[in-house]
Symmetry: C2
C-alpha cells in the first residue's frame, strides 16, 4: 500500500500556498521551484483542484492560484478526492451482484478492508490544511 506522488504533490503545493496571505495569487512556477515539482505535472494537478473548487485561478501576468476556502476548511479528504487519490483497499465493492472472489458470499476479509478504509478516512477527514501549516511553522529550523 502506498500513496502516489500525485496526492503527495497536491498536498505539498497547497501547504506551500497556504503559508501566504491568500490575497496575491501564487504562480505554479514558484511552487515548482520551491518544492521541486515539475511545472507540467503541477498544471495537471491544479486543473483537478480547480474543478473541485479547492483553488481559484487568476489568469494573466501576476496571475496564479488562490485558495478557494479557508485553510481550516480544506480537509485532506477533499484534496485526495480531487486528485483521484483513492483509498481503495480492495476490489470488493464493484460487483454489487456477486460478492468478492466471484462467489455468492463476501470474501473472508471483506469487513477488514471496510474497517481499514474508515480508519484511514477518519484521519484524512480531520486533518486540515491549517493543521499542516501550523505543524510546519512550529518546527521551522
Amino acid at each position: 500500500m502506498k500513496l502516489t506522488s500525485k496526492g503527495r504533490y497536491a498536498v505539498m503545493a497547497l501547504v506551500d500556498m497556504a503559508r501566504f496571505d491568500n490575497i496575491n495569487p501564487v504562480s505554479l512556477r514558484d511552487i515548482s521551484l520551491r518544492q521541486g515539482i515539475s511545472l507540467d505535472y503541477l498544471e495537471q494537478i491544479f486543473s483537478k483542484l480547480r474543478k473541485k473548487e479547492i483553488v481559484q485561478s487568476v489568469r494573466g501576468t501576476q496571475g496564479g492560484y488562490v485558495l478557494n476556502k479557508k485553510a481550516r476548511e480544506i480537509k485532506l479528504t477533499n484534496i485526495f478526492d480531487a486528485v483521484d487519490e483513492k483509498v481503495k483497499t480492495v476490489q470488493c465493492k464493484k460487483e454489487s451482484k456477486k460478492g468478492c472472489n466471484g462467489k455468492a458470499t463476501k470474501c473472508l476479509t471483506h469487513n477488514l478492508w471496510d474497517e481499514l478504509e474508515n480508519h484511514i478516512n477518519n484521519f484524512f477527514d480531520q486533518k486540515s490544511l491549517e493543521d499542516l501549516v501550523k505543524d510546519n511553522s512550529e518546527r521551522r529550523i
Copy 2:
C-alpha cells in the same frame, strides 16, 4: 493509495487456514479452490510466509501448511511484513543525508506521512488472525 492483492490474498489464505483445527495441514490446492486464488501465486506467497515463520510446511502427500503460532498471536502487521506489503506513504525515508525533495530540509508534508503511517500501523498491530476468524463466524450466512 491501495493495498495490493498479494497482501489481501495472504490474509485471506491465512484466515482460511485458521478456521480449522491447525493439526492437519491444509494444502494450497484446497485454499486455491476455496478462495479462488491461483495456486502458483499462493505458492509464492506462502514461501514468504514460511521464511518469516508465520506458517510451517509439511511436505509430501497429505502435506500442506500449518500455522506456526496461535491465531491470536499473528497480527496483520506480521503478515503484511512477510509479503512485503509495505505501508510506505512516501519516499522521504530513503536518503538519510538529504531531506525529501532533495533539499536540506524535510518536505512540507513529511510529518503528515509519518503520522499516517503510525495511524495505519496501529490498526494492523491490533488486528489478529483470531479477530478475523471470529468476525467471519459471527456473520456466517
